[in-house]
Symmetry: C2
Subunit: 252 residues, 2 copies
């Protein structure tokens, strides 16, 4: 059977999951940040990832609904504020729409999800199901990809600014806010996981939960790479020229 | 607004969804049935699709749980019998395992799902969520891909037998039983949908439900094509030589 790991050993195992499986290693991610993506590929990435961004407060609300301790719920509810903001136009989802706006995509089309790849929708549904159906400890552990996000954000932002003339610093406002939030959130979640994964079985479960989350992010990039680099988008999914904002269609 | 279609017009629209979006058009399907798949690709297809096969009785149990009329439940429960059988070794899931057995895959590995592509798992979870969360009418309409399955089965079976020396008629026993079952099931579901989709809104919803199901089957083949034809399997997913049955490992 698996041995009980010390807290430091468990943290090392979790960080190793990120080193092996986080999407900073995905070929589409490397393509995106090195300027090898076409404009259509960048648009498809932003439009598909909107669905993931939009599900984050729902994911956090599910986790919140499963916590019976106010002391645990209080810090966790800040995650929902970070993404939904205090008012219209504020928060992480609105900042993601700044990116799709600047790419010339229609907000209505992006928000409807109807041009997204089916695989993106399935990944999002799978993530929401996981945090609903797994243990609370596993649901919290699945958020630990934020341990790895600050470094990918720095690389991606620098790469996209250097390589795409249609990307301005304001376009990537979403990413400016995230590293500080992600550090705070992942510090909290990591401390919780280390304190509560107190048996070998629970330790293996939290490692598997983090692998699950890495697989979910990986699957979204696989789907983009398949549809836009190697093959064709599924019927009905975004193609060049779809989902244009009305004022851009009028000008064309 | 959308017009109310006659029952025959609705049936024609549903059949048109199949003609445009069913996975008989997918490049990986064409590759599989024309003998262009490697042995590893056939194994990956069988191993991944096992997860879909295994979820079918759960999907039908969810639909059954939402029906309040015994007259509706009685014919529907036969679907669960068809897949689970009357005894160990019987039914559609056992027949699918005959296929993975003959390919030399370990039953324990196949049934654990641990070598499946994450995208396959997400598609299955998305399907179960759909039949749980959509209306009963939409859940029933999503089963109408069976209108199209008898023809794909004939083409696939003939193509696989002609093109792969490791496939024998008994290997494909699953498909021998399906066309008669699928015809009976889709006749029932089509009659239900035509009788209950009595407003333009419901008619559009059943068309969208069938599009959803086609997208789910399409996404599974996209994931296989990406992982095994164009790029690499996600970390941890099936690769050549994985999941071998123990007696084959010993003999090698």
């Amino acid at each position: 059977m698996d041995q009980l790991l010390t807290e430091n050993e468990l943290e090392a195992r979790l960080r190793d999951v990120g080193a092996q499986r986080y999407h900073h290693l995905h070929p589409f991610q490397l393509r995106l940040q090195s300027g090898r993506c076409s404009r259509t590929e960048v648009e498809a990435w932003a439009l598909n990832r909107y669905l993931y961004q939009a599900c984050i407060p729902q994911k956090d609300a599910i986790i919140l609904s499963r916590m019976d301790d106010p002391a645990l719920r209080r810090p966790w509810r800040q995650r929902i504020v970070d993404h939904d903001g205090e008012r219209e136009g504020d928060g992480g989802i609105a900042r993601w729409l700044k990116l799709t706006d600047d790419l010339g995509l229609s907000r209505a089309a992006v928000m409807s999800g109807r041009f997204a790849l089916p695989a993106t929708r399935f990944a999002v549904i799978g993530y929401l199901s996981f945090v609903r159906d797994a243990t609370l400890l596993e649901a919290i552990a699945s958020s630990l990809t934020e341990l790895f996000s600050p470094s990918i954000i720095a690389t991606r932002t620098a790469g996209m600014l250097a390589n795409y003339d249609f990307i301005r610093p304001e376009t990537l406002a979403y990413f400016t806010a995230r590293p500080v939030q992600a550090k705070r959130d992942s510090d909290f979640a990591l401390a919780y996981v280390k304190a509560h994964a107190t048996t070998p079985e629970r330790q293996q479960a939290v490692i598997a939960a983090l692998e699950f989350k890495c697989a979910m992010l990986w699957a979204m990039l696989d789907a983009l790479e398949h549809a836009y680099v190697y093959a064709e988008p599924a019927p009905g999914a975004f193609r060049a020229g779809d989902a244009r904002a009305p004022h851009l269609v009028a000008a064309a």
